[in-house]
């Protein structure tokens, strides 16, 4: 947690800077882009993988504004869903993660039709777990937590405004339930976007 707090200080600066950039972009002649993406969430925790499997479904939507040649500010809403079984007695359990994040990323135009980017930003997420124990019945609980996300990806422009985004993001996220839950992991996938 101590590390998270240190990161939070950095994140606060990024949030402020991102908000400043987005606010500035709204009043300036900036290029906007929006995209929706789908893919897989690969949890880092082995316990997570043992219970819910190595891959979970992951979906998000993102909007970004380029207010500088090498800087974009972005805002992302992410949703992940997993279904699994308890270890030992194979009782059903479900997990939902809803994450919102924002931050800054740096696009580099390699070609007219090819762009890569790297980004970093804080996240605020909610983790909901529903356990159906044969001994204690069906219980569910929700916890929220703050983390961060590191983003990377390649955009292929196949039309003037349309592009395909292939991405790999790493999200760091933990929450305190009856025991600590590590919901960190890698999100990989692809999406389609438009600039305007």
């Amino acid at each position: 947690m101590h590390i998270i707090f240190k990161e939070e200080n950095v994140m606060k600066k990024i949030v402020c800077l991102s908000l400043l950039c987005i606010t500035s972009a709204l009043h300036a002649n900036v290029e906007w882009e929006a995209k929706i993406r789908g893919g897989a969430f690969i949890p880092r925790s082995s316990l997570f993988r043992d219970i819910y499997g190595t891959v979970a479904g992951n979906f998000d939507g993102e909007i970004a504004g380029q207010f500088h040649k090498y800087l974009q500010a972005w805002l992302n809403i992410n949703f992940a869903l997993a279904h699994g079984y308890s270890l030992g007695f194979c009782n059903t359990t479900k997990l939902w993660i809803v994450n919102s994040s924002l931050g800054l990323k740096t696009p580099f135009d390699i070609k007219d039709w090819l762009r890569v980017y790297l980004g970093l930003g804080p996240t605020f997420g909610a983790i909901r777990i529903k356990d159906e124990s044969q001994f204690t019945g069906c219980t569910s609980s929700t916890k929220s937590s703050i983390g961060f996300v590191a983003k990377s990806g390649i955009d292929f422009f196949f039309c003037t405004r349309w592009f395909v985004d292939i991405f790999a993001d790493y999200v760091y996220q933990k929450a305190d339930f009856l025991k600590d839950v590590n919901a960190s992991g890698l999100r990989i996938g692809a999406g389609i976007g438009i600039t305007f």
Binding site: L87, G88, I129, F135
Partner: protein, 629 residues
């Protein structure tokens, strides 16, 4: 009509008079604490204290028991106490310098005060509570000391503390006192202290305190021409002008205090002997007073802060502690007409057989009429000598008498007590019934020994009482005196106790009592375990194994005990009961898989689980503990 009303009033007065009784009280001037202490002489207890504005010293009470007069030597004044209210009334009455001792005329009309340091005496009218005209009056005495007034009321006598004389004063008309010539004691160097006059007014006894030993000097023929009897030597020398003297009502015995700081003696002087009997009282005995019926003599002990009570056999029967009220000096006795309170209107009692504490609970109700009691005394005897409790009337009217002996019938006597310690007659109550219906012991008990390895487990079972209150629990003891409690078992089935790890070579006896919700207990029922357990039920399951496994979720981990067993060899087994301790938690059909899973909480290690087989008649096998792997 008027006659009827008058008749009723007279009848009422008569009834009131009949109900009232004469109660003796002692009024003690405590110089060291500016108080007058009131003692009820029927109970020899301090019942009231009256604060005084100055340090009181001598005290005298009017024969009609209306007022008490107290001297304030350091302030040259006399105070008045109204005996109907026991309060100081009016302002202090100024008299001469250092008034010490005083006396009241037999008709209660006047108080004569000896003023020690200005050679005067004062006369106060009890009607006006003022000095009569001309008071104080000069005397020929160096140091007026004690005052005595002849019972015929015609003459007062004042002793001289610094000389060998006694001054007679004609008080036939107290408003015009006539001072006679002094009576000079024919003892060289005599100094006069306490004095008393016989009931025929013809003889005075006066203390010569300076002789060693001190003496009592009889002065005869006071009504004609005084003569002197033989002096009577006391047991010691007082060397103090404050040695007091009092006569018994029959004039046969004089009581004299040996007033010295280290003295603990008051002499009883049988005048006809003369025989002197020293009586050991408290330290520094000061003043003495005799009850009008002569039954008891009271001596104040200045340094002990006590009053010694002496019976006619010259024995101190009681010492009344006045502390924290200090330096008791003058003492006088009043006989007040008191209407005692009525006894409690009713009283009830019942017994509660608490464990190791048989307790009687006594309740009562206040008297329906008469003076309101301030307290209630509870005695164990009809003579009211064995006081066991005093309960304030403002507290709940309940008394609990603990740690009683069984099989004894107790009777209690409750009396009402008013603020002056005056007691009513007693209301008695005999405790013959229990406070609640008696709880019964278990109606039956069984026990058997089960060999477990090298030890024995005794299994005790019993059935609930057939009648009476429902037990809340059962207590199991190993001794008939019910001290060695080995278990408390709730009154919910199964009514069973297992005593493990016992020696196979020893025989054990158990005593079980029923306990109700109030803590009442029954008589014990006992069993000595001699038989081995061979239950009428089926044979027990075998290979009863427990395994603890985790049920791991991402957010929590549950600890699960999985029990498996081999079926009972009996053919009529229909199910298996799973117990956690003595609590039945599951019943598994014999046709189902012989396994059972249960959640373990709070660090439970599964060691308390056991399993029994149940046959078609409902009989259970012995418990087989789960062996947790």
């Amino acid at each position: 009509m008027k006659k009827i009303i008058i008749a009723l009033m007279i009848t009422s007065l008569i009834i009131t008079e009949i109900n009232a009784s004469i109660v003796p009280f002692a009024y003690v001037a405590c110089t060291g604490s500016n108080t007058v202490v009131v003692i009820n002489l029927n109970t020899n207890t301090v019942v009231k204290t009256i604060p005084t504005p100055f340090a009181p010293y001598g005290i005298a009470i009017t024969p009609n028991n209306t007022f008490a007069y107290i001297t304030y030597p350091n302030d040259g004044a006399v105070g008045v106490i109204d005996l109907t209210t026991n309060t100081i009334v009016g302002s202090p009455i100024g008299v001469g310098d250092t008034p010490v001792n005083l006396a009241v005329t037999p008709n209660s009309g006047y108080v004569i005060v000896a003023n020690r340091n200005d050679s005067t005496f004062s006369i106060i009218s009890t009607a006006t509570q003022m000095n009569i005209p001309g008071s104080p009056f000069a005397t020929l005495l160096d140091t007026p000391n004690f005052v005595a007034i002849a019972p015929n009321g015609e003459t007062a006598y004042i002793t001289n503390a610094d000389s060998d004389s006694v001054l007679p004063i004609d008080i036939i008309n107290p408003l015009m006192p006539i001072i006679y010539s002094v009576i000079t004691i024919p003892v060289v160097g005599a100094r006069m202290a306490g004095i008393a006059i016989t009931s025929n007014s013809d003889t005075a006894y006066v203390v010569d305190y300076l002789s060693n030993p001190s003496t009592v000097v009889p002065i005869n023929n006071l009504l004609t021409s005084p003569t002197f009897g033989s002096t009577i030597n006391l047991s010691a020398g007082a060397n103090s002008p404050n040695s007091a003297l009092a006569l018994s009502p029959d004039d046969l015995t004089a009581y004299v205090t040996i007033n010295a700081p280290s003295s603990t003696t008051t002499d009883s002087v049988l005048i006809s002997g003369p025989t002197v009997t020293p009586i050991t009282v408290g330290t520094y005995p000061a003043y003495v007073a005799v009850l009008p019926d002569g039954q008891f003599v009271y001596v104040t002990n200045r340094s002990s802060d006590t009053v010694s009570v002496i019976n006619p056999y010259n024995t101190v029967t009681t010492t009344i502690n006045l502390s924290p009220y200090a330096m008791p000096q003058g003492i006088a006795i009043a006989q007040l007409n008191i209407t005692p309170p009525n006894p409690p209107a009713s009283a009830q009692g019942c017994a509660m057989p608490l464990l190791n504490d048989l307790t009687n609970i006594i309740t009562w109700t206040p008297p329906a009429s008469g003076p309101a009691p301030t307290a209630y005394n509870i005695y164990r005897d009809a003579l009211l000598t064995d006081l066991i409790a005093t309960i304030s009337a403002t507290d709940p009217l309940v008394y609990e008498d603990h740690h009683l002996y069984p099989n004894i019938t107790y009777t209690y006597y409750i009396v009402s007590v008013d603020g002056l310690g005056v007691m009513s007659t007693a209301t008695s109550v005999t405790v013959t019934q229990l406070c609640y219906p008696a709880i019964q012991p278990p109606s039956s008990i069984h026990g058997c020994a089960m060999q477990v390895g090298n030890t024995v487990t005794n299994i005790i079972t019993w059935t609930a009482p057939a009648s009476g209150p429902t037990p809340a629990e059962y207590q199991i003891f190993r001794d008939p005196y019910l001290y060695d409690l080995v278990a408390t078992v709730p009154a919910t089935p199964p009514l069973q106790y297992e005593d493990p790890n016992l020696s196979p070579s020893q025989t054990y006896t158990y005593y079980i009592i029923s306990v109700d919700q109030y803590g009442d207990v029954s008589e014990p029922i006992s069993i000595t375990v001699t038989a081995s357990c061979s239950t009428p039920g089926p044979s027990a399951p075998t290979n009863v194994i427990g395994v603890i496994r985790n049920n791991v979720f991402l957010d929590k981990t549950e600890r699960i005990l999985t029990i498996t067993w081999t079926a009972s060899s009996s053919t009529d087994v229909i199910s298996y009961n799973i117990y956690n301790g003595t609590t039945l938690i599951a019943n598994i059909l014999a046709t189902a898989p012989l396994t059972f899973c249960t959640l373990l909480v709070n660090g439970d290690n599964g060691q308390n689980f056991s399993i029994t087989a149940v046959d078609s008649n409902g009989n259970e096998s012995v418990h087989v503990p789960v062996t947790v792997m």
